[in-house]
Every structure is written in structure tokens, then in C-alpha cells.
Symmetry: C2
Subunit: 112 residues, 2 copies
DNA sequence: AAAATTTACTTCATCTGTCGTAGTAATTCA
DNA sequence: TGAATTACTACGACAGATGAAGTAAATTTT
């Protein structure tokens, strides 16, 4: 299982990525993360919802409510323009981070 | 610059990697990190020394003093057997983590 | 020779993101 | 009808990173 210290700081990015696909809500996002990571990463509920609050405060996402006659009332989230910019910046940062950490990792065979 | 949240939890691994090369001490390790990362990552002093303490407590490194007639007295560190095992585990974890995060990153061109 | 810089740390307090525990409440499934 | 799933919220604790500040010896610059 993946250590939360590594993912830390990338949960926001992961969430923004999923909101780029489409507006969504907590439960759906958590399912999607598990799905896309092949079950290798399961985000904790509290981590997810505290990430939403952080992202809202920073203005990277917006919340709204859909009219719905079925199911429990959900809070949906949308990514904003600044949220997109932040996401893109994080993607560049990730490439850099990968390079740096790779430098200190023993790679079992030939690959970098 | 690299966000500390990502490196967080990999500082220990980075330090262990450098101690695998040879026994070393704080200042030298910090220089080496900067050097090997091409100046892309500079570890903070307090981060480094608190990492040493953590690693000592876990038994992943050992400290000793070299006899020296020159320079200020240094505390040298060695990696232990369990330290090596931990390092190897972290390397495997890193490969997994890369895969997972990559899944949520927009890659500008074709590469994975 | 004095002053500034570099080397080599230590202590302490604060911040942030993660996560455990717990609770609420509606809806769907058996 | 009871259990499980969906969809959250509140709160407190913890760990790692970091800023600020200080110490002190050694080296380099002026």
C-alpha cells in the first residue's frame, strides 16, 4: 500500500484531475480514485473532504447542488480556471519531482 | 522548486541512499543532495537533522565520531542492515507510487 | 590581525495534511 | 425489518517539515 506521506500534497492534484473529467462529488471521486489506481490507492474519507474544503478556500473548485429527486443530497464540485492553472503547475512539478527522487532510488534493472 | 509535501517521507530514503555510497555527515549529505539533484532540491538543515534523529531511533542508521585533527567535530552516520531493508522497501514503494500518481497527471506529449 | 563567511550543528515552536474515531441520516438491498 | 451502502460532518491527534534563533569552531577575505 502507498504511504500517505508521498501522496500528501498530491491528493489535491488527483482530485482536480478527476474534476477536469467532469463535475463530481465526494463518494464518486473516492470510487474513481480506487478504480483508476487499480485499487492501489484508496483515499480516506476525511482526507478527501478536508481536501475539498482546502480547494474551495483557495478558489480552485466551486461547489453546487444538482436538483435530484433520488438518492441522498450531494454536494457537487467543479474545477475553476485558477484550479486548472494550479493543476497544470502541479503536473510540471511532478515531472521534476520524479526526476529528483529517481536520482536517489536504486532501480533493480536498467530502466530509469 | 519542489514542494516539500511530495519529498516528505522520501527524505529518509534519500539520506539512506547517500549513506549507502559511504558513511557521511550532515553538511556533506546536504551538499550531495543539492549536487545530485542539480540544485533542484535543497534540503533544509532542520529537516535533515530531524531525519537523522528519526532514522537513529528506528535503528536504520548508526552514528560515530572519526578521529580528526582538522575541521569542526562531526557526527558521522552509517546505514544499518535494517536500514538497507527499509531503503529497498521504499524503492519498491516508489515505483508503485509513481505509477499511481502518473495516472492522474496530464502528460504534455506521448510519454508515460 | 580583525572581520566575514563557512562549516556543523542544536533547540524550540509552529504549521499543514493525513487519519482515527465517532456520529448523522437517507436510501437501497436482502 | 434489518443490514449495508451512500454521503457526508466534526473533532482531535500525530508526524514530518520548517522558520527563527543560537552556538561555536574553522577558514577565508580584507
Amino acid at each position: 500500500m502507498i504511504s500517505s506521506d508521498v501522496i500528501r500534497g498530491y491528493n489535491d492534484t488527483i482530485i482536480l484531475y478527476l474534476l477536469l473529467e467532469k463535475a463530481s462529488y465526494g463518494y464518486e471521486i473516492s470510487k474513481r480514485i480506487k478504480e483508476l489506481s487499480d485499487g492501489k490507492y484508496v483515499i480516506k474519507e476525511t482526507t478527501l473532504y478536508s481536501a475539498f474544503n482546502r480547494l474551495l478556500k483557495k478558489g480552485y473548485i466551486e461547489s453546487f447542488h444538482k436538483e435530484q429527486t433520488f438518492g441522498k443530497k450531494r454536494t457537487y464540485y467543479n474545477i475553476t480556471e485558477t484550479g486548472l492553472l494550479y493543476y497544470q503547475e502541479k503536473c510540471r512539478e511532478w515531472e521534476l519531482t520524479k526526476e529528483v527522487i529517481n536520482q536517489f532510488i536504486y532501480h533493480s534493472a536498467e530502466r530509469q
